[in-house]
Symmetry: C2
Subunit: 394 residues, 2 copies
Amino acid sequence: MSRMGFWRKKKRIFLDYASTTPVLLEVKRAMGPYFSEHFGNPATLYQEGIDAKKAVEQARKKIARILGSRSEEIIFTGSGTESANLALWGVINSYQGKKAPHIVTTTIEHPAVREVAKAIKAVGGNVTLIHPNENGLVTASSIREALREETILVSVMYANNEIGTVNPIREIGKVIREYKEEKGTSLYFHTDASQAPNYLPLNVSSLGVDLMTLDASKVYGPKGVGMLYARRGTRLLPIMYGGGQEYGLRSGTENVAGIVGMAVSLEMATRDREKEAKYLSFLRDYAIEKILKQFPKASLNGSCAERLPNNINICIPGMNAEFAVYLLDALGISVAYASSCRTLAEGASSYVIEALSKKECAVSSLRITMGRGTRKNDIDVLLKALPSIVLRAR
Amino acid sequence: MSRMGFWRKKKRIFLDYASTTPVLLEVKRAMGPYFSEHFGNPATLYQEGIDAKKAVEQARKKIARILGSRSEEIIFTGSGTESANLALWGVINSYQGKKAPHIVTTTIEHPAVREVAKAIKAVGGNVTLIHPNENGLVTASSIREALREETILVSVMYANNEIGTVNPIREIGKVIREYKEEKGTSLYFHTDASQAPNYLPLNVSSLGVDLMTLDASKVYGPKGVGMLYARRGTRLLPIMYGGGQEYGLRSGTENVAGIVGMAVSLEMATRDREKEAKYLSFLRDYAIEKILKQFPKASLNGSCAERLPNNINICIPGMNAEFAVYLLDALGISVAYASSCRTLAEGASSYVIEALSKKECAVSSLRITMGRGTRKNDIDVLLKALPSIVLRAR
């Protein structure tokens, strides 16, 4: 063997944790026994089934503790997208009023909400889309103004997946409750909290939400598992029918390993929340300051104060963000333009950044999202690479 | 350490492979790297995303080869239940005719089809339910008689999950094609093939189906993954909206590990099909003969000839099947009464066996389903235990 073989494969720098996260070792370990060993179907009544059922119910309890909810308010699904679909279609399909139902949501939602809202409109529902303010935040007053007697659902994301802004969910919850009390109408509040668990509190009572979407694959859990919190008494119809699992709201054999993994990943997120938020906020502010210094015309997209600790989203005017992503990839650095979750038709332009009235930034912004694996040195490597990348990506 | 510690934990005998299967070692190994190592989101454009996308597309190709279909005719979902829902709702929701749409299905379908059919009826669709013959088989002529001009979908399961009968899908496909040509109507044929891949051929052209549901968790793959085959040109609307994954028909981040696992599990099933079918047919016939000898009043539920190699479903008049399952469980043997997939409301009675006009057998039948782990000795242990169990379970 030649000594030439001893080169080390260069480690890549992953800075797109908002798109997905690797499964933590602890999560993988917890899932392990549920593939081949404890493989029973929770619907069966002998030992293997009882073991599987127990694992699912323990996971439910763990998550309920984190959300401050009842166990039976947790419905496991196959993804965040499915959870959001269940929340929106579930409420719409169980609506029995005479007037066409009305829902209120925002122009910066993830497609899992935005596209459902479009589809609801296509079948005759009324949809009001609220713009965020120039900081990318959805204000409680803008939601309040959109409420009508026939409004049956408000859906506002907790933290935005692209620009990392954190919406005032408690305040929005409060104006919705006040409106309901004043008018005596039935009106639910859903939040897509997929980006929240690593950095933000999830207590559903203090948030004041009736429905909350979570996705394991954004919190270092497995892909293919999500959940919907649905407050007791929320009137929902399923989007899938069958064996009647998950309190009749989500049929299909439970993904036992995935559910066990999701619970552990949410526990880990809760345990490390403060520490991770502190460390990544420091790195975030350091990177933002450096980039704004490197590029005098650059600007931060979205609020600086109400922002996820791991999100850096910067507009560098004149830069072709799509090209910059390719160039950075060639250097071994993974970042995103817009978000991974746009629909194909939207191409490389960001509808979220357009909603900030920064149209020119929609194709010139990079999303850099950090995570558990990110070190200061990774950011330094990125900062060092940026000037020549930006020069080339015109 | 006392020698007393050296007792061996008694191995259980699992005889409910129709409810779910353990993940094969080869499948688990193939999935392994996609949890924490190649964890990218297939929607992203840098290396990690490209790797994930490649894995998904390779899995799609592998499965297409097994089905004799095009890759782009495979839509990955979260379960067999979701696939069946997508097939039925997908066709119904894309229907634009003036008359109420009509679908034809059977009284022995899995709830994933049966409950959707009910829900379709509840929203104004017309549903014809076909009874099987006394052998538990759905005949092509009975389907032919039910077809009408406004029929847009026929859904007949390939192999029944409870009594293991194998329906004449080719023949049914043929009469449907003939009807379509004769009348010039648009009409799709869906088969729920969840129980088929371990023992039956899956070529969609020779089966003559437009839509086919498969579930990884019944073929020694992971829970939480399924797929729908949809022939090119089939008009479907999604049941979930979002990022537009899976050709716009199933939004949500792809369960990369699960999809990779499903492909390997189907490959293994195809490779070992003949061998497994031969061995288990022998064990099945051996067990059936012995049980019918042990209990002179016992009878086999469903056709003997057109039957899955792993399915033994026997009525022992007077036996309380639910109680027998509990008693066998206490002896370390897992079998089922009815199926694991009934809805809760149905309790312990089997609607499938009722459909055979053997009403008294609906609560007195045991489903014994074998699999890759089953040995002749397991069957002998069961046979030895049965007489006293049946005596007690009255």
